[in-house]
């Protein structure tokens, strides 16, 4: 009854409403702080070890972080959608072992690469189908396939670590370098970029976030939530397939013993990066930082020659500390910002 709309009023109102956010508003404060903390950790290691900042070590770091990062980016989608994938380590073992066997059997490298990707995606599809269409919680499904997939890999290899002929293209993938960085590192960069675009720029990403927040609401919006959920798990399977190929290529052998406990490292990286385990919030940049942080800690502690007995203790403590600082510092960031505005 008092809606006396002047001409153009709605227009200015709408312009005000859609005003793009400033860089600071858009930035995820927690991720920013996390980046700062990671830099601080790096600075500490750089001061304590001469080798840490050498190009050789940085290149090493990039290679070492690659498999974790690749799977963690995909896992970011899985966790953001409120699911989880515990089978990634087993898929890596499976793909690396079977690829090596196929190479031994005389398959061409390119075929084996394709087979590796298909196997990864295939296992992901199995996980996804049981989760999305049979309605079994992803935790259970992937816990079961974790055991099944590694079991099959063990069965086929009988415990042998299957060597990969270093003259094959497959093996060279492990040692190929470009601008001083390994192929693994470049692939990881590519996948992070793809992950960023997919989560923040594609409908799929919107639905993944939405499903994590309120699956039923997304379903009622007419989205095929089952397909989206299946896709997330397929992506993590595919990523594990890629990681399996890279691990095998780098080691020059495929083994069913690879990547045990890998899932926990990956999930740690994702959650450390600020993605909520209950779904609905996820960031690929955070995952990148989380994966780098975990790898840097392992690398740095070795470089400064810490006893292997102390390594897990220090790693755990640092993780806890980092998250703690991070949580506190959303407040700190606002306080700083307010100071900045005032001055």
């Amino acid at each position: 009854m008092t809606a006396t709309t002047l001409p153009g009023e709605a227009d200015t109102a709408s312009r005000r409403l859609a005003r793009p956010q400033s860089w600071w508003q858009r930035a995820n404060k927690a991720t920013l702080i996390m980046a700062v903390v990671t830099l601080a950790v790096c600075a500490f290691f750089a001061l304590s070890s001469d080798t840490f900042l050498t190009f050789a070590n940085i290149s090493n770091l990039a290679t070492q972080v690659a498999p974790v990062l690749i799977v963690a980016v995909a896992m970011t989608f899985v966790i953001t959608a409120g699911q989880i994938d515990l089978s990634v380590g087993s898929i890596i073992a499976f793909v690396s072992a079977v690829c090596a066997q196929l190479l031994v059997a005389g398959w061409d490298s390119s075929l084996v690469l394709i087979a590796g990707l298909l196997m990864g995606a295939g296992w992901g599809l199995v996980n996804g189908w049981f989760t999305a269409y049979a309605g079994i919680p992803a935790f259970i499904v992937t816990l079961a396939t974790l055991s099944v997939i590694r079991g099959i890999a063990l069965l086929t290899t009988q415990g042998f670590s299957v060597p990969i002929d270093s003259s094959t293209f497959f093996a060279q993938l492990g040692s190929a370098r470009w601008l001083g960085f390994s192929s693994s590192a470049w692939i990881a960069v590519l996948i992070v970029a793809l992950g960023l675009v997919t989560l923040h720029r594609l409908r799929f990403g919107q639905y993944v976030v939405g499903i994590g927040a309120a699956e039923e609401s997304v379903r009622r919006a007419g989205v095929n939530v089952r397909r989206v959920k299946m896709w997330t798990l397929m992506l993590s399977g595919l990523a594990a397939g890629i990681a399996g190929i890279l691990v095998a290529a780098r080691l020059g052998s495929g083994s069913a013993n690879s990547a045990q406990g890998f899932e926990l490292t990956v999930i740690a990286a994702v959650v450390l990066g600020g993605t909520s385990l209950f779904g609905g919030r996820g960031t690929v940049v955070g995952t990148l930082i989380g994966a780098v942080l975990i790898t840097v800690i392992a690398n740095g502690l070795t470089l400064i020659g810490v006893s292997p007995f102390l390594t897990p203790i220090i790693t755990g403590t640092v993780l806890l500390l980092v998250i703690w600082v991070n949580l506190r510092s959303v407040g700190i960031a606002h306080a700083l910002r307010r100071l900045g505005v005032r001055s």
Partner: protein, 252 residues
């Protein structure tokens, strides 16, 4: 405003639905014509929301028939109902708390350029829609979870309306709205109905029904018990129909 001879948009016959031992719907009939505003009333727990969820495909019914545009349909999912151009504002709103206002508004049909969501366009269009509806939010970038109850509800209404549906279902759309916003929504209802949309309005604000409805369907304990043109009713009679008692003198 309405077109009494208009063709039948929706026809529900003998819809039943049980949740385990609880029988929420025991056989409901309902019809909706083009350009008509139908008021659906009933006591708390009468089954109104359940019926509307069935019509919107969010819930599958056990028995009975749904006809849209005269054709029998069966909705396996909300997407099917949307395909028949049925739009709905759920009583619980069905929003995603961690997505921003614009994303919620366009969930499921984001404007896109090639494979990419066109975020700028999405926010601009969202702002336009919200400004048109006089929705009071500060930015289309705000997360839905941080809005006030009334703000959330207006976003949900904006969402349903912007689908340009043939059938618009509003399940207590004004429950959390302030006076001016209620007026906007009532105006909106007559607006869309005059463009030929069939509207089903569920509300407990009986006086609103008399301002926009053409006909009232009354539900009681999971059954549709009355179907009366608004002209034959006054507020006491309506209350009596809802509570299944004789009309009394004292009026609320």
């Amino acid at each position: 405003m309405t077109d009494e001879t208009g063709d039948l948009l929706v026809e529900l016959r003998g819809i039943t639905k049980s949740y385990g031992p609880v029988q929420s719907l025991r056989g409901v009939d309902l019809t909706l014509r083009r350009g008509e505003v139908l008021g659906l009333v009933g006591d708390n727990g009468a089954g109104k929301s359940t019926l509307m969820k069935v019509l919107a495909g969010a819930v599958q019914h056990d028995g009975g028939e749904i006809r849209v545009h005269g054709r029998p349909v069966s909705f396996a999912s909300p997407a099917d109902a949307q395909g028949e151009k049925i739009g709905i504002v759920y009583q619980d709103l069905a929003l995603c708390d961690t997505l921003d206002v614009a994303s919620n508004l366009f969930l499921g049909r984001e404007p896109h350029r090639g494979p990419f969501v066109d975020k700028r366009k999405m926010h601009e269009q969202a702002a336009q829609i919200l400004a048109d509806l006089h929705v009071k939010v500060s930015s289309t970038h705000q997360e839905i979870g941080t809005l006030s109850g009334g703000q959330r509800q207006t976003v949900a209404i904006a969402r349903a309306v912007s689908f340009a549906p043939d059938v618009l279902i509003l399940d207590e759309p004004t429950a959390a709205l302030a006076v001016a916003e209620v007026e906007s929504v009532l105006r909106l209802i007559t607006d869309v109905a005059s463009r030929g949309v069939g509207v089903i309005l569920i509300t407990h604000r009986l006086q609103d029904l008399f301002r926009v409805c053409d006909r009232i369907t009354v539900m009681y304990e999971g059954e549709s018990v009355d179907d009366v043109p608004i002209g034959e009713l006054d507020i006491e009679k309506l209350v009596a129909l809802i509570t299944r008692s004789e009309p009394q003198q004292g009026v609320a």
